[in-house]
């Protein structure tokens, strides 16, 4: 079956690209955080420390694969995989150039994103539970509560954008031109959406499942070596994936000057947009301190969700009367 083979090659290439992206994102984050803190950051391996990710990868791979005796072995080994897989799977529906989705165009692109982000929390929850350790369990509980709660505003804003775009397919969404008022209205949702995404991906300042000063390392306290690296990979690939989704939803994805004519320009524009959003992720991590857990929850239920509901209602009215 040649079609199957094509899909397979696409999937392998895509995974490799994203994983390389992960490696250099760790480098970028360490460099940028160092700059924010008036340090220099990694600068020994290669020019500007560019070989640092390779050195880290070799180190992680040759570390001893250690499984503590008190864990639930099956779930303990399964959890890092469950954390990593969804971050890669979301990529399937994102358009990377004019008319070219990464894997395939489905008429449920939005729902696909919602479905996969919903499953993402399994890795964290199961890691915390299977570790059989109070700190890990607390981290897992926090993660579960946080992810369930912040999924609601995320879904509300996603539905609003789908409604305005009039399609569930991301490929179509990017290609449908938007009126200026639509762009402005959608950008109003951006800060809310981005906040929900920070909470969904457990990124600082919402990294409460892994707070080092109260929970040791939260849900991955008992993990080491490659399995620990897989959690790191999951987190960073999630950052890349969600940045791509955000740039697709809010900033036109691969769109840019001349991208219609020269297809190869699409991925370039997408890359630039994703890079800007990743910078925002890291900038926020360097600038904002962590809230308390009850503050995080209150903010969601008393502010984000009502705001999402209002946004959804107004979007519905606008869709009916202005489009």
């Amino acid at each position: 079956m040649p079609k199957l083979l094509v899909y397979l090659i696409q999937a392998v290439v895509l995974s490799l690209v994203v994983i390389t992206g992960f490696a250099y994102l760790t480098w970028l984050e360490r460099k940028l955080i160092a700059r924010f803190q008036v340090r220099i950051g990694p600068n020994r391996a290669g020019p500007f420390g560019l070989l640092q990710p390779a050195a880290d990868a070799v180190k992680a791979m040759f570390k001893e694969e250690y499984i503590p005796r008190h864990v639930d072995k099956f779930v303990y080994v399964l959890a890092p995989m469950l954390a990593l897989a969804p971050a890669l799977i979301v990529w399937a529906v994102i358009p990377i150039a004019k008319g070219v989705p990464a894997m395939g165009d489905v008429n449920i692109g939005f729902l696909w994103i919602l479905a996969i982000t919903g499953v993402e929390s399994f890795g964290v929850i199961l890691a915390g539970w299977s570790s059989n350790n109070n700190y890990s369990l607390l981290g897992a509980l926090r993660s579960a509560a946080q992810m369930i709660s912040y999924e609601i505003p995320l879904g509300l804003f996603l539905v609003s954008i789908a409604m305005l775009g009039g399609t569930f397919s991301l490929v179509e969404l990017v290609e449908t031109p938007r009126a200026p008022w639509e762009w402005i209205w959608i950008w109003i949702a951006f800060p809310f959406f981005f906040t929900s995404i920070l909470a969904e991906t457990n990124r600082s300042p919402f990294d409460l499942p892994e707070t080092e000063n109260e929970l040791v390392a939260g849900f991955f306290t008992e993990y080491g070596g490659m399995k620990f690296s897989m959690f790191m990979m999951a987190e960073y690939i999630n950052m890349i994936t969600t940045s791509t989704v955000v740039s697709t939803l809010f900033f036109g994805g691969w769109q840019g000057p001349l991208a219609d004519r020269y297809i190869w320009l699409g991925p370039v524009y997408l890359f630039i947009k994703v890079l800007a959003l990743l910078f925002l992720f890291i900038w926020i991590r360097a600038s904002i301190s962590r809230p308390r857990f009850d503050q995080l929850m209150r903010f969601n239920w008393k502010f984000m969700i009502p705001a999402g509901l209002v946004y959804l209602t107004v979007s519905a009215v606008m869709t009916v009367f202005l489009k």
């Binding site: 399994f122 929850i125 579960a144």
Partner: protein
């Protein structure tokens, strides 16, 4: 195509059996998730993409996580279930399960043909389902919405603190 469908069906069945026979509740929950995921794949094979997405969003992403949450909050359950034999709830659920199975079989025999496209293809798209829900099935749809609202308010009332109770700050 149909070989694949049967393979997924077998996996789904195996996961369902796993839910029942696992000793630890968390393992049961994991098997339940596997079951939901395979069901979603079956829906995709039947061209019901919306149903597949809804299956994963609501069941795998929502309900199983809630189940896990409750299991973890309640903590370790030391009771070994395998020694208890047939309890009354077990018998009741067995009887109800058999009734459900038989009635479904009677309903669906001869109607179900795996891999048959045609009429199903357009029925699986979000717009087709939306149109049906808001025209032909509007009344049941609204009833379900009211039912969910009632359940939500009921849960709120049951979970609310009495005004005399000491206020407990949620621990970090």
């Amino acid at each position: 195509m149909s070989v694949f469908a049967f393979l997924i069906g077998a996996l789904s069945l195996a996961a369902a059996i796993g839910v029942v026979v696992s000793a630890k509740p968390v393992h049961s929950a994991l098997f339940l998730m596997a079951n939901f995921a395979t069901l979603a794949i079956l829906y995709v094979l039947l061209d019901a993409q919306f149903l597949a997405a809804a299956q994963v969003i609501i069941y795998a992403g929502g309900i199983v996580i809630l189940i896990l949450f409750v299991i973890m909050l309640i903590g370790h359950d030391p009771a070994d279930r395998s020694q208890q034999g047939l309890t009354r709830p077990a018998v009741a659920s067995l009887v109800l399960g058999v009734i459900l199975l038989v009635s479904l079989m009677l309903q669906l025999t001869g109607q179900l043909e795996l891999g048959a496209g045609g009429g199903i293809a357009s029925g699986g798209s979000p717009s087709a389902i939306g149109t049906e829900l808001f025209t032909r099935f509007l009344l049941p749809f609204e009833f379900v919405a009211i039912l969910l609202l009632v359940a939500l308010i009921g849960a709120l009332i049951m979970g609310r603190r009495e005004s005399g109770d000491p206020v407990e700050e949620p621990a970090g």
